[in-house]
Symmetry: C2
């Protein structure tokens, strides 16, 4: 197998955020994986309402998971970063309730859903990991729901930016106190249930207060302490997460 697709040499495994796996587990993942796939920024990975028998791990790049209403109103449910696993939410014999879209150019590891059952039979530790990943994603959606339901616009944006910064940092995407974030203000608005205009004004306000710097697609947090307090941020565990 080429080094490009070898799970043993997976660049993500070098990140401290992920827990180590047994060699046998990694070997299984390598056999489970059917191929790698690239999706260009802005293109769909999964269409809302589509039926799919694939599972994915994000190897590199950013994406988002979203649902929309009949008239086009759209809600981003969560953002997907390297190491995130997607596809469990949908059932084999049902149309997907959500869509997935690449935010930057994305590389995905593709797994055939048909062989998922085999994983459960042969590698209980990996099955356990999958459940963990699913539960953890739910925590993230929970958090976003709390924001959208109960936080003010400033708090929501503060929250989301800290959250994304921390997550990106945990998978090694932070350099020099700054993270490249391939998301537009429209994406932030769609994730937080705000209008584009109000999102812009609020971001502006946070910038002027010196709490954040968001320029040229890169985010730097100016005053983490104050921002954290403002947004009532509570960290989720980001270490020792499984990687499949």
């Amino acid at each position: 197998m080429s080094s490009e697709t070898s799970c043993t040499n997976c660049p993500l495994r070098r990140q401290a955020a992920f827990r180590a796996n047994e060699a046998s587990e990694i070997a299984f993942i390598e056999r489970f994986k059917s191929r790698q796939m690239r999706v260009a920024a802005g293109l769909p990975i999964l269409l809302e309402g589509e039926r799919s028998d694939r599972l994915y791990t994000i190897l590199s790049g950013w994406a988002h998971r979203h649902r929309s209403l009949g008239d086009g109103r759209r809600q981003i449910l969560n953002f997907l970063l390297p190491g995130d696993f997607v596809g469990l939410q949908q059932e084999l014999d049902h149309d997907a309730m959500h869509g997935i879209e690449a935010l930057s150019d994305v590389t995905l590891c593709v797994f055939p859903r048909q062989r998922l059952w085999h994983l459960y039979q042969e590698y209980p530790s990996l099955a356990y990991d999958l459940t963990w990943l699913c539960a953890h994603e739910e925590l993230i959606v929970d958090e976003n729901l709390l924001s959208v339901g109960r936080r003010s616009a400033v708090e929501r944006i503060g929250m989301l930016l800290i959250h994304l910064y921390k997550r990106a940092e945990s998978v090694g995407l932070c350099s020099d106190g700054s993270v490249r974030m391939p998301i537009s203000q429209q994406h932030i608005a769609d994730a937080l249930g705000l209008s584009l205009v109000h999102t812009n004004k609020t971001l502006r306000r946070l910038s002027l207060l010196g709490l954040i710097e968001l320029r040229g697609g890169a985010l730097r947090i100016g005053d983490l302490g104050r921002l954290r307090q403002l947004a009532d941020y509570h960290a989720l565990p980001l270490r020792a997460r499984p990687l499949i």
Copy 2:
């Protein structure tokens, strides 16, 4: 084992909503289960921030899962009905990010988290079921997030009432076109990110339009077709769900 705690005779298993299990699986569940537990209406099952090593299945009654902010603002994340499984969201060595509270008197099946790993090793089919349940709960939270982020107050309430009605119906809690719902308007407001006052006025409006009847804690849907259209409701799969 007394018939009260026998999983083979579990009253929920008589409901068509749940998929049948092998006798061996049920026997395992019965051994996995440490005890049964009753919690009175209004009391906590799990406190936000508490550490717990228990997993629960709701055997009867209603509950809700919630998170709150430092200053007391509270968001209900989802409602728990008979057959729902809770506890996976939190990690063994972390404080719970959410709380769980009984809405009515609730009976729970209690499982020791320590033996969860044993389940994964010995009963991959049940492990698979647990992942399914986790993914399904995420779908419900997704849906609620879409509502809170993008639907108007009328749409949100329409959505939630249809959703709860359908779920209750699927586990046999509907009699004569009407469901007993042990939730106050405050709970609806907390679930939908609305104020109590506005929730009341909106409910009133839906009643006057003849779309719903909500009296004495019982909900009847007056015109499902129109309500469904109004709320842009799309059904989640409620059949053949696993029961652990």
